[in-house]
């Protein structure tokens, strides 16, 4: 059967992997490629590499970083997000090694252009990254550049309804980095029941993950900061989510990729 | 008390048996091995090493217990450089107060010769208390430390999953256990049942130590050996020229630093034993007062057996030095144990074998037996 997914998020600022708290404060973590290699060995189901400062660097995906990751021989599916402003940006990111592409700023600027990415890549390769919060009982959609939140734009909902973008990453950006912070109202208030969702932001405890993954339209849960505080954090989470349709945790024996046969 | 007719070994060594012809087991062994085909034994060892497969990612083939002294330095080099076998060397390190700079130099020398060495160093204060309690109870402060020395190698073999231990000389040789001649002569697996030694913990627990302080003194259970399929081999069975002096020559040619204090202070004829600490001379002296033979006798016996010394010359040296132990070493020993020198001598006198020795008014100890003749 098709399993739900635990996604490991690597947030990158100035080429450095960071812990990000509330889309505002950052703490240095290390080299993105080393963290990716570690998540790969831990058996996470997908890796989301999100570069949060591409606009400051003049836009465009960080192709050099993608190639650096690929050279390490990652055997885990990779989603890239950050600075994808055009169809060619998306195609080049896939060429550089990403299986799928996350789109954030472009959805604010031109959702229909975002939909055009589906033609060369296929809708299954696209994820809409939506930083949301609850404002007066309704969902508010953040543009991280201006730091202004607005209601969900009709144009965005039309593109999603058209099926041009397969999954939506709901980011509880206010609770990012906050223990047990994820606000499940984001899922409850989401207007499109058949849209596959990924929950992210403040998910630190197994009970939370079980809560979101038990929802039929939630296909994956993403964890970033909290995977960096303990050895085998992915396996530990998966073991405590026994009973859910998740790929089993594995503790690799002598590192096969490196073992000198 | 009788002496071996050929060498100067008295029959007072615990559970040793002389032959009907009045010859000690060690002299019998020298005769017995004259006809041995040593090349056949070397082939056995070569096949044994060749039959072993390394686990992936594991590059230690066996473990050798070392002190950095003459025997272990020779064994390590022989095994590595002749058979291309990569041993993990395991050393039971003396605490800083007891260790000598010479011992540190020799261990450094062994490491610099290119070996992987694991040094296990038991807690110094517990070590010191156990030595004092051992001296007070058995007039032998080495009861605890011998157990630690003996336990370190199997403990580490079991924990590192290395299933071959190489020891030096088969101790049965000294006890007249003539099995040592046959194929089982190199099989040291009886060592797995040395848990009689582990009962050696009881007196330490009775002396007030907690179990958790005695972990370096715990000799593994036989079941643990079997679970790993641990094999124990005596290299002495293969090394036909194994001897105290010969091993010293091999090791001195590889950088060994030896004692320079002379036989008058230690009873040690050439100064090539007890290089890593200075309490052994005291223990050898006490052994002399208990059993009538000391460190000088051990040296002299080997020289006589190898035909390098007459029995008469041996007698002279034993009479002169077998009891030798410099007062300075005794003072330092007492200081380390925290006892007075007079308390030390009271304890030694109490343990002195009165059939072999008389103690005169001012505490001097005199032989009642005649060296080489007996009682």
């Amino acid at each position: 059967m098709l399993e739900k997914r635990l996604i490991g998020v690597i947030t990158v600022k100035d080429g450095w992997a960071v812990q990000s708290i509330g889309y505002r404060r950052h703490r240095p973590l290390g080299r993105p490629e080393v963290i990716a290699e570690n998540l790969d060995r831990w058996g996470v189901d997908e890796i989301l590499l999100q570069c949060i400062d591409r606009d400051a660097q003049g836009g465009g995906p960080d192709l050099a970083l993608l190639e650096r990751l690929c050279r390490r021989g990652l055997s885990t599916p990779l989603v890239y997000a950050g600075g994808v402003r055009s169809v060619s940006d998306g195609v080049r990111a896939v060429q550089a090694g990403a299986e799928r592409i996350g789109i954030d700023a472009l959805l604010h600027d031109d959702p229909h252009l975002a939909a055009e990415l589906a033609e060369p890549l296929g809708a299954q390769a696209l994820i809409a990254v939506l930083p949301l919060s609850v404002h007066n009982g309704a969902l508010a959609w953040l543009d991280h550049r201006s730091r202004l939140s607005t209601p969900l734009a009709p144009a965005l909902l039309d593109v999603l309804a058209s099926g041009a973008i397969s999954e939506v990453l709901l980011v509880d950006w206010q609770h990012e980095g906050v223990h047990e912070g994820f606000d499940e109202r984001l899922l409850a208030l989401w207007p499109m029941p058949t849209q596959p969702l990924i929950a992210f932001g403040g998910l630190s405890e197994p009970s939370q993950l079980r809560g979101v993954l038990e929802r039929p339209n939630v296909v994956a849960a993403a964890v970033g900061n909290f995977l960096n505080h303990r050895e085998h954090a992915v396996q530990r989470l998966k073991q405590s989510l026994a009973g859910l349709p998740l790929r089993a945790a594995t503790h690799a024996p002598l590192d096969p990729a490196r073992a000198w046969s | 008390m009788r002496y071996c007719l050929r060498c100067l070994q008295p029959d007072t060594r615990p559970n040793t048996r002389f032959s009907d012809a009045g010859i000690c087991p060690a002299c019998d062994y020298v005769d017995a091995v004259r006809g041995v085909d040593w090349q056949e034994r070397i082939d056995i060892l070569t096949d044994l090493f060749a039959s072993r497969r390394r686990k992936p990612g594991q590059f230690h083939d066996c473990i050798i217990g070392v002190s950095g002294g003459k025997d272990s330095t020779r064994q390590a080099l022989w095994v590595r450089d002749k058979f291309d076998v990569n041993p993990l060397l395991v050393c039971l390190g003396y605490p800083p107060e007891q260790a000598t700079d010479r011992g540190m130099h020799n261990l450094s020398n062994l490491i610099d010769l290119g070996f992987d060495v694991l040094v296990s160093q038991p807690a110094p204060a517990t070590w010191r208390t156990l030595k004092r309690q051992g001296f007070e109870r058995f007039t032998n402060s080495f009861r605890s430390t011998e157990l630690a020395l003996f336990s370190a190698v199997p403990q580490i073999a079991l924990r590192y999953g290395i299933d071959l231990i190489l020891w030096g000389e088969n101790p049965a040789l000294q006890l007249g256990d003539l099995k040592t001649l046959g194929k089982t002569g190199y099989d040291g697996n009886n060592l797995r049942h040395m848990n009689t030694l582990s009962s050696g913990l009881q007196w330490m627990l009775d002396a007030g130590h907690e179990r958790r302080q005695l972990l370096p003194y715990v000799y593994p259970q036989p079941e643990e050996f079997d679970a790993l399929g641990l094999q124990i081999i005596y290299l002495g069975w293969f090394l036909g020229d194994w001897s105290l002096v010969n091993n010293a020559m091999h090791s001195c040619a590889q950088g060994l630093e030896i004692r320079t204090d002379g036989v008058a202070d230690t009873g040690d004829l050439f100064g090539v034993t007890a290089l890593d600490e200075d309490f052994t001379p005291i223990n050898q002296m006490i052994k002399y007062f208990k059993f009538g033979f000391g460190r000088t006798t051990d040296y002299v016996n080997e020289e006589i057996r190898l035909g390098r010394m007459s029995r008469e010359r041996g007698i002279e040296l034993v009479e002169q030095h077998d009891h030798a132990c410099s007062p300075d070493y005794i003072a330092r020993y007492c200081d380390y144990l925290g006892i007075g020198v007079d308390a030390f001598w009271r304890q030694v006198h109490a343990a002195t074998n009165r059939t072999l020795f008389d103690i005169d008014g001012d505490g001097r100890i005199h032989r009642r037996f005649q060296v080489g003749v007996g009682l």
Binding site: V18, Q19, P28, R230, R258 | G57, L107, S108
Partner: protein, 413 residues
């Protein structure tokens, strides 16, 4: 290359090799996490540590309660004091032989063993492999210290697996203390990823041998991290005491000097006399390489720590950095003799690892320094630091007169 930004409170820059983030007020992530030291309730955090460690106390007395990595310097005395005397645990001490040992370091380690009466096991990797590795790491990424860092961060973990002792207790987390990598409240634990990423500059043992050099698996295998299956089977965990104790190395060292006989020595390249007295290289060749690669050296780490603890102003710290940073190394000959190098060859290797961001070769052989301290602001007319900021040296590196590397030493009296 992103523009170089300086923290307004300490002396670190955005080019710190562990990463450093500056917030809107220009204060770095390291200084922000340091503020927690005066905000958190450390009595409560000590209780958290006690309850966290409770299940690891061996009731049977058949095994040790934990493993504590130690050396002849660093925070070893204070850590063993915490573990044995305040926590009442029965630790197995483990140490990796760096071979660059000073006799003062040998003496301090012996003092540690005697004072706290602990069992210790020491790993000595055969020097043939250690030297082959050191030549490669010095050549390929300008590190004379990879083997030390790799050995001392893996031998405790290997021992945990072999001796089936799951708990390893470390001092403070370097990433947290220097650059605020984590909050104390994250209670971050030991991970293989952090070791590879930072302690080992991104290179694990298997990354060293290449097609074009002579390193073999038999040279590097002892530096491999245990595999996940073994770590998981034993339940190995590395806990940092610095997350539960208000970590202040200077105060801790002074407590250990006074009560436990820890001995210290002065250095040319820093004012701190407590750290690294066990190694001829750390404050000498290694520190010069750090300056070449990263444009700052250990004295800046010490200054930042003291500034954050309020014992130095930023200007005083900067003055101390400028006084020590260019002091000539004094023990290069020892390293050359140990590794069989010629001084000229070592010089060539050192120069190849000067980072052009901090060094310009105006004319051949003449290097102009443009490191962090040169653009960190003014330090002129600075008053000398108060008595509380003074570090005492009660001994010398050649403690018993031996002015060279000691492989194995007595260390007593």
């Amino acid at each position: 290359m992103a523009a170089l930004m300086h923290c307004r409170r300490c002396l670190y820059t955005s080019a710190h090799p562990l990463g450093l983030m500056l917030d809107a007020e220009g204060i770095c992530s390291g200084c922000r996490v340091h503020e927690e030291k005066d905000r958190l309730d450390w009595a409560e955090r000590w209780q958290r540590l006690e309850s966290l460690l409770a299940p690891y106390r061996s009731r049977s007395g058949e095994t040790y309660d934990c493993i504590v990595p130690v050396s002849g310097a660093g925070d070893s005395h204070y850590i063993v004091h915490l573990v044995k005397q305040r926590l009442g645990l029965n630790p197995l001490l483990v140490t990796y032989n760096k071979y660059f040992n000073t006799s003062l370091g040998i003496r301090n380690l012996a003092n540690l063993r005697i004072r706290f009466d602990c069992d210790l096991i020491q790993q000595n990797v055969n020097p043939h492999a250690v030297k082959k590795i050191t030549r490669a790491t010095l050549r390929d990424f300008g590190s004379d210290y990879w083997h030390c860092l790799a050995g001392q961060t893996v031998f405790p973990v290997q021992t945990a697996v072999r001796y089936r002792i799951p708990l390893i207790l470390w001092g403070a987390h370097q990433g947290l203390e220097q650059v605020g990598m984590y909050s104390h409240e994250d209670e971050v634990e030991m991970t293989r990823r952090h070791r590879q990423d930072h302690d080992l500059m991104g290179r694990e043992a298997d990354d060293l041998p290449t097609m074009f050099d002579t390193l073999k698996e038999s040279d590097i295998w002892q530096y491999r991290y245990p595999d996940d299956a073994a770590l998981s089977a034993i339940g190995v965990r590395g806990v940092y005491l610095g997350n539960y104790v208000r970590w202040d190395p200077k105060a801790q060292h002074e407590q250990m000097i006074e009560r436990c006989g820890y001995r210290t020595a002065a250095f040319a390249r820093t004012f701190d006399t407590y750290d690294h007295v066990d190694c001829w290289n750390y404050m000498d060749l290694h520190d010069v390489l750090k300056l070449h690669k990263h444009g700052y050296s250990k004295v800046t780490d010490h200054a930042c720590r003291e500034i954050r603890h309020g014992r130095l102003t930023r200007a005083q710290g900067l003055a101390l950095v400028r006084r020590h940073e260019q002091a000539a190394p004094q023990h290069l000959d020892k390293f050359c003799e140990w590794l069989g190098l010629d001084r000229s060859g070592l010089g060539f290797l050192l120069d190849r690892h000067r980072n052009p961001r901090w060094w310009r070769e105006a004319e051949t052989g003449r290097w102009a320094f443009a490191g962090a301290s040169t653009t960190a602001g003014e330090a002129a007319g600075v008053t000398m630091p108060p008595a509380s900021a003074v570090f005492e040296a009660n001994d010398v590196l050649a403690h018993d007169g031996i002015d060279g590397y000691i492989t194995i030493g007595k260390g007593h009296p």
